[in-house]
Symmetry: C2
Subunit: 218 residues, 2 copies
């Protein structure tokens, strides 16, 4: 019954709250490792820089966590976030583009994160597919639609040059992908309601820092 309750709760959480709850999950994982047993929302506010009432409200989106009079029990909160953010169900991800950045991502030990696992990789260069050393299955990019559909892959990482990013996004969407992390240095568009997109832009982040420095004394 609890399970059913949390599933029905989950349909209405606003995206900014999900993003904040994911950072909170990371924080709480670190606090658990540090051996911190409990923390009040005020303490979580201090550590996140968010208002305490926002934290309480965000957590309440995920349903009842129980007695919070003496603060949140950290391991219980971590488990609450893990289950109710849907991270418990591991999703298959694929990586498109095995250039330097893609290969670095594929080899990264930090990407064995909760909630997803890289199950396939694609590149348009057949030589690259033959020479790359990885335990992950690799395929030519023209098979994206088929493979994503057959393997029921839900997440895609785009790490191709800018001029191919949109074409790859279109293929991922055609295969039924539900979330795209775009690391190509260009924006992509997807059909409305088709899938979620997050962007990582290294040059863009450096430009922001450059503007902040140019703008005022730190």
């Amino acid at each position: 019954m609890v399970k059913y309750f949390t599933i029905t709760m989950k349909t209405s959480i606003p995206t900014p709250a999900i993003i904040r709850l994911c950072s909170l999950y990371q924080l709480v994982c670190r606090m658990e490792k540090e051996g911190i047993p409990r923390a009040s929302s005020t303490e979580l506010a201090r550590r996140t820089g968010l208002p305490a009432h926002t934290i309480r409200k965000d957590i309440s989106f995920l349903g009842e966590i129980g007695d919070t009079g003496a603060g949140y029990e950290i391991s219980r909160l971590r488990n609450h976030l893990f289950s109710n953010l849907g991270l418990k169900r591991e999703k298959k991800a694929c990586l498109v583009g095995l250039g330097r950045l893609g290969a670095a991502i594929l080899a990264s030990p930090n990407l064995a994160g909760e909630g997803f696992r890289i199950a396939a990789a694609f590149d348009s260069d057949v030589n690259k597919l033959e020479t790359i050393k990885t335990a992950i299955m690799v395929f030519p990019s023209h098979e994206i639609v088929d493979i994503v559909r057959k393997m029921t892959i839900e997440l895609g990482i785009i790490a191709v040059p800018a001029d191919h990013a949109q074409e790859i996004a279109d293929r991922l969407v055609a295969g039924g992908i539900r979330g795209i992390l775009n690391i190509a240095p260009t924006p992509i568009t997807v059909p409305a309601g088709g899938c979620f997109v997050r962007n990582i832009d290294i040059a863009g982040e450096l430009r922001i820092l450059s503007a902040m420095i140019g703008n005022k004394k730190a």
Copy 2:
């Protein structure tokens, strides 16, 4: 006189406005390439997803751009943003960590972005420094404080493993760095008012997508 005016204007722009103006700059660069001569704030709002009044207000932080009755002249707006966001003054950046991700960043042609240029790279592994093929000067990590100070490097990219990230951040700050892009999979802390920090967290972004998918139908 105009120059003096814009410099005095720049001290009071809030950080969220700077971040939005940097995205706007990227958009306007693309529009200029596409040959679009003018755009109203309504058109910019459609393309960015931000309210038109926010765009007008953000642009106005940078001082007078002139007649906007028939919309913004794109090349003029691009130049206005470029100059007044402080991107015209190219800052030196350094990269710390020449593992797969660091090496991929160093080799990236997209990082010749406006506002910064990578002038030095560091790694704790001397063998790596001897074997890496790059035109950029490389140094052992224990020289960070000295080199950052001597070369007046203002931006630092941290691409080291999680357990070394804070130590590297401390050294960059000790060298007088003013902005840090942290790509290590862990948060870093810097002294208040010491320098600006932006984080890129690939696993974290995938976790957010995983939660969004777990949370509702796209």
